[in-house]
Structures are given as C-alpha cells and as structure tokens.
Symmetry: C2
Subunit: 89 residues, 2 copies
C-alpha cells in the first residue's frame, strides 16, 4: 500500500477569498509576520501495491479531470515517502 | 521571503464525506487501483524574512487555533524548500 498526494492550489492570478479571510484574521488574533495566505486542497490517495509510472500517470489524469479545475487551479502529484507519511498533531 | 505550508487532514477515525465522494466517483470515471481517498486543506503562508524557530512556533499556534479544528483534524507544519516551491500544472 502506498500513498500518492495531490495538492491543488488556486492559480496565482486567481483571487482566493478563503486565503484572504485567513490573512485578515491573523493580526486580529495577534499573529504577525505573514504577508500572504493561499488556501487549497490536499488529497491523499491510497493505492494498491507499488506506485508505478502507469499509476502516477493515472493519478495525474484524476487530478486534471476530477480533483482540480484546471481553469483556476494548479496541481502537483507526488508519492509520499514513509518518513513524511503522517500529518500528525 | 519564505513559504511555510500547513497541511490539515481529517483524523483517521473521522468520517470524510468529501473523500468518500471522490473515491466513489473514480470507478465511474474509469480509474482503478485507488482504495481510499482523504480530502483535507493546504495553506501556503508567505512569511517575512527567514523562517526562525520563533516563526515556526507561531505558525504552529495559527494552525492549532485558526487553520484546523484539533477535535477532528490533524495538521503538519513545514517549510517549503525552493526546489519544491511551486504547485505547477
């Protein structure tokens, strides 16, 4: 079992109201030093067996057709290594 | 200018209807070999100057108080290196 991650982010030229809302909230909460925030999506896909080039190509296709809107979003596909495999608290 | 990334994912024991919807859509679109999908959020924070330990601690605090709901979500904070700095198409 392996994990493939797809990160989907709004393109730089696209307005990102969610990110702007976070950016506006930070000073009110006493946080300083952050000049911009962009909010996107992260998908973690568990795939059967090893991650072959064929499977990666298939995930690229999923990212393009289902997980992102290529008009307004960019995406990145990568295999998550064991060492970094947990989003832990 | 440096970029700090915060990944926020639903905890493993928490139902993830968005991820389940994606998982259900994949076979209908002809994609096979994916056994589970989890959907979370990705925040890209641009910070002034170098990323100090103090700034990282501050971002951890932001993640805990504003960017995630610690009851149902885990988060990970890391500095994005130049090499991997673009979510490109």
């Amino acid at each position: 079992m392996a994990r493939v991650v797809v990160d989907v982010m709004p393109k730089p030229e696209i307005l990102d109201p969610q990110g702007k809302a976070v950016l506006g909230a930070l000073p009110r909460l006493g946080f300083e030093g952050v000049t911009d925030v962009r909010q996107g999506k992260r998908f973690e896909l568990e795939v059967e067996g090893e991650v072959t080039d064929e499977m990666l190509a298939s995930v690229e296709k999923m990212a393009e057709t289902l997980l992102s809107n290529p008009v307004i979003e960019n995406f990145a596909v990568y295999v998550e290594t064991e060492a970094a495999s947990e989003v832990a608290e």
